[in-house]
């Protein structure tokens, strides 16, 4: 590296450090000064502040959502960074180590953006909603201090993890380095759990907390361990992995399209595949966590559950079904196109049209409304409370069947992709393949059987059937994968995967995936927060501001889109910023030549 480049590199690294430190500092300042700001607001006796043009609610909404998007990314990426690092250590495969380091580099700069948006959110809350903030700080004071402390630990663990990568690369030091990655996840997950306690308390405060109860009298642990806390923790943990994988895949897609050498193109093709694999694999289990959360919401408060699924938000689930349909279709499309670069995959191509058919049918069923809010005139026009034909497809039985068959189909896509160029060497390979086929058919039969049976039993029994359907699919995924791993041990190859030989259109599918995941995250955030309706804290503190009414989905979609564009614009910028550090290494000759 030339001295000029070296010096440029050093300056940029220092600049990066400064940005990171500023972000961390801002968050700490906000955490420590929050109380002071709060005291000022409280003494003035002001309940609400005002924000020009867009209003207080939308200002807080945007700050919270963009913060959350960055936070999801910086919490999701370390989970699979340590996994890929471990694969690299165990398999002694340098590629995985490099990939893991590249994941972490993306994380580094995104981390300060998370902190900056967190600070914006805290300042907005203290100035625009001082009464709510006062209530929350009085209960969660201690956890907020812990949060700030953990943020410091997380920041410096991340710096050690990334900047120590090459120093602690071999032998026992490598394991210590990997342990840093684990620690990073522990701090990050704990930070998320703490923040989740604050927001889930607003949704489902303990029954003992009434409008007249003094916040100071609420026990901290009872407020933290509220009814929806753990379901939200688990749901977010999985969703963060999905989201992180999708954003990383989009980053790789961009680098693939911008690549100047075959080597670079091959690397980013592989990285895109890994990102997509992570996102779709985690997506497959996400609905189960979602069901749990939904059930807990119902169990906590039936009215809230009804509002969520059947009230003014009922149409939201149709949009959600459509978006998830796009995710399944785009994810599978990317895999099918990717088979073009795998010798031997041709033999599976004829099956893709049938899989596409199942996916499209599944999306149509899933997006069919059942019971919607309707006026008396609409009910009369429809001839009853349900549409005579669509009402049948809109039932939970049909929807559960559709989504489980879509999951099975996507799993089959992965399986075919994995098997494409492999030639099993074990003598029982044929039998094992037949057993796998039987397991698939059995799982699909169980799912379909309970789907049909659900029409002939009461609603309560029908809900229970979804458990059997889910178990059948999970059993198929686990048993078929186990068989596959055992069968492909020491397998021969029909030819190496031609990484980099991927048509550009496949990379645009990765962009669609990333945008859709981001938009979906915004939509679900709206649903989760919106079901509180005109309550800051459900049935404890009413929203008395001019922004108390929860807007319709049309307006919500506009705000979500603004958040998505802010996030994507900023993440693009921080990735570019992060890329500057590596650039001199990649193209020194070109830089000199220019």
């Amino acid at each position: 590296m030339s001295r000029r480049n070296s010096s440029r590199f050093g300056t940029r690294a220092r600049a990066l450090w400064l940005v990171l430190a500023a972000g961390a500092g801002l968050l700490l300042i906000s955490a420590l000064t929050g109380g002071e700001l709060l005291a000022q607001q409280a003494s003035a006796g002001r309940e609400y502040g005002s924000f020009p043009r867009i209003g207080s609610r939308t200002a807080v909404w945007i700050a919270a959502e963009v913060h959350l998007m960055f936070a999801a990314f910086v919490l999701g990426v370390p989970i699979f960074a340590v996994m890929t690092e471990l694969i690299g250590i165990l398999g002694k495969d340098e590629r995985y180590d490099r990939l893991s380091k590249e994941f972490t580099r993306l994380l580094l700069v995104a981390y300060s953006a998370t902190a900056i948006w967190g600070t914006v959110l805290v300042f907005f809350l203290t100035t625009l909603y001082p009464r709510v903030w006062a209530h929350l700080t009085e209960i969660f004071e201690l956890s907020m201090w812990v949060y700030a402390g953990l943020f410091f630990l997380e920041s410096f663990t991340l710096y050690l993890y990334y900047y120590g990568w090459d120093r602690w690369k071999y032998g026992a030091a490598k394991w210590w380095h990997w342990t840093l990655g684990i620690l990073l996840n522990v701090w990050g997950t704990t930070v998320m759990f703490i923040a989740n306690a604050w927001l889930s308390y607003m949704m489902s405060p303990p029954a003992a907390v009434t409008p007249d109860a003094a916040p100071g009298g609420v026990k901290l642990w009872s407020a933290i361990a509220n009814a929806t806390w753990m379901p939200i923790n688990i749901h977010r943990l999985i969703a963060n992995v999905v989201f992180g994988g999708a954003v990383v895949a989009a980053y790789a897609a961009y680098r693939f399209l911008a690549a100047r050498t075959d080597e670079e193109r091959a690397h980013y093709d592989w990285m895109g595949y890994v990102g997509n694999f992570i996102a779709i694999s985690a997506l497959i289990i996400l609905p189960f966590a979602g069901y749990w959360l939904g059930r807990e919401v119902y169990a906590y408060n039936q009215q809230m559950g009804t509002t969520m699924m059947g009230g003014f938000m009922s149409w939201l689930w149709i949009i959600q079904a459509f978006l998830i349909g796009v995710l399944f279709l785009a994810g599978n499309y990317y895999l099918w196109v990717g088979m073009g670069r795998i010798p031997g995959a041709e033999r599976f191509v004829p099956y893709t049209r049938w899989m596409l058919l199942i996916l499209i049918a599944g999306v149509i069923v899933w997006a069919t409304p059942h019971t919607m809010i309707a006026s008396r005139e609409e009910l009369e026009a429809m001839g009853g409370s349900h549409h005579p034909f669509l009402g049948v497809l809109g039932l939970m039985s049909a929807k559960n069947t559709a989504v489980n068959l879509m999951i099975l189909t996507t799993f089959l896509s992965f399986l075919l992709y994995r098997r494409a160029n492999a030639v099993p060497q074990v003598s029982w390979a044929r039998t094992a393949t037949q057993v796998q086929g039987v397991i698939f058919v059995l799982a699909a039969t169980v799912v379909t059987f309970y789907g049909i049976r659900g029409y002939f039993v009461s609603a309560i029994v029908r809900i229970g059937f979804s458990v059997y359907q889910v178990l059948a699919v999970l059993f198929a995924i686990v048993s078929v994968t186990t068989l596959d791993v055992l069968m492909l041990r020491g397998a021969g190859s029909r030819g190496a995967i031609r990484w980099g030989e991927m048509p550009a259109r496949s990379q645009y599918a990765l962009f669609v995936l990333a945008v859709t995941f981001t938009w979906l995250m915004g939509l679900m955030g709206f649903a989760r927060s919106g079901i509180r309706q005109h309550w800051h804290i459900w049935e404890v503190m009413r929203d008395r501001s001019e922004w108390a009414a929860t807007p319709a989905l049309g307006y919500g979609a506009q705000v979500i889109s603004v958040c998505v564009l802010i996030f994507l614009g900023l993440i693009g910028f921080v990735f570019w910023l992060g890329g500057l550090v590596e650039k001199p290494k990649l193209v020194p000759e070109a830089a000199e030549g220019d």
Partner: protein
């Protein structure tokens, strides 16, 4: 650099894909019916309040901020109120005959402030609305429901009494703080000692099944005598939260704890004898 124009075109394509995807989702969300969750409007009436004023306020609440239409009127989650329910007519036409001894007004009000009391067979119990709505708002709902096939007889006195009992207009602080409700006169099934009449009159079949009758929310009555002793059955009626039947843990706390006040001693013993005999 030669590659710059090509990369610029790629960048523009990526931007186009991103913007088109975001725009499509935004458009889609704006094409569906737009429903806003309104804030329940605080209402106050003087002594001269007319039925029309009450009905208008009730309708606004029912179709808007009250969130009632999320279940009622759809046929699946709760009985139809504004349209015919299985040939029994609209709610105003049938409310007076739902529970013997209760007028339409009493039945509707009681259903709102103590929703666990009269659960319609085949449907789950309604959520408690008293934490979210003021007594006046609840009475406007009663008036609106009465007019659906019946006559409004809610008066300013009803409202004043309820507000006074709740402490002056603020929403009741906790579930169960429903002293505003006029207590129904006498036991739910009149003075009948006939077990099935008591079970039906008390709304037990809303959650428990006997043969084909009732809903499988709580433990079935069928075969209860083989599972529980008479003492346990008695305790389950008087203190439903003392024990929870295995397999029904999620339903703990759903059964109203006030049957001890509603049933006469003779009715309670008739029920215990009847249920113990179901083997």
């Amino acid at each position: 650099m030669r590659e710059r124009p090509a990369m610029l075109a790629t960048n523009l394509k990526i931007l186009g894909v991103v913007l088109a995807t975001v725009a499509f989702y935004t458009l889609l969300a704006n094409m569906i019916p737009q429903l806003e969750s309104e804030v329940p409007e605080e209402v106050a009436f003087g002594g001269e309040v007319t039925p029309e004023e009450l009905v208008a306020a009730g309708e606004q609440l029912f179709t808007g901020a009250g969130g009632c239409t999320a279940c009622h009127g759809l046929g699946a989650r709760a009985p139809n109120l504004l349209t015919d329910e299985k040939g029994t007519g609209t709610i105003g036409a049938r409310c007076g005959e739902r529970v013997p001894g209760l007028t339409c007004k009493e039945y509707l009000h009681e259903s709102l402030v103590a929703p666990g009391k009269f659960v319609v067979a085949g449907f789950p119990a309604m959520p408690d609305v008293t934490r979210g709505l003021t007594p006046t708002q609840i009475w406007t709902l009663v008036a609106f429901l009465e007019i659906q096939g019946g006559q409004v007889d809610v008066t300013a006195e009803d409202i004043a009494r309820a507000e006074q009992a709740s402490g002056g207009g603020a929403p009741a602080p906790a579930p169960g703080a429903t002293a505003a409700a006029p207590a129904p006169a006498g036991p739910p099934a009149g003075a009948s000692l006939e077990p099935l009449a008591i079970l039906r009159g008390s709304g037990c079949f809303g959650c428990h099944q006997l043969g084909d009758e009732g809903a499988p929310v709580g433990p079935p009555f069928t075969g209860m005598g083989t599972r529980l002793t008479p003492d346990r059955i008695r305790r389950a009626i008087l203190e439903p939260n003392a024990d929870t039947a295995r397999g029904y843990e999620a339903m703990a706390g759903v059964m109203p704890p006030n049957f001890g006040q509603q049933l006469s001693a003779a009715q309670l013993e008739a029920l215990v004898r009847f249920l113990s005999g179901l083997k």
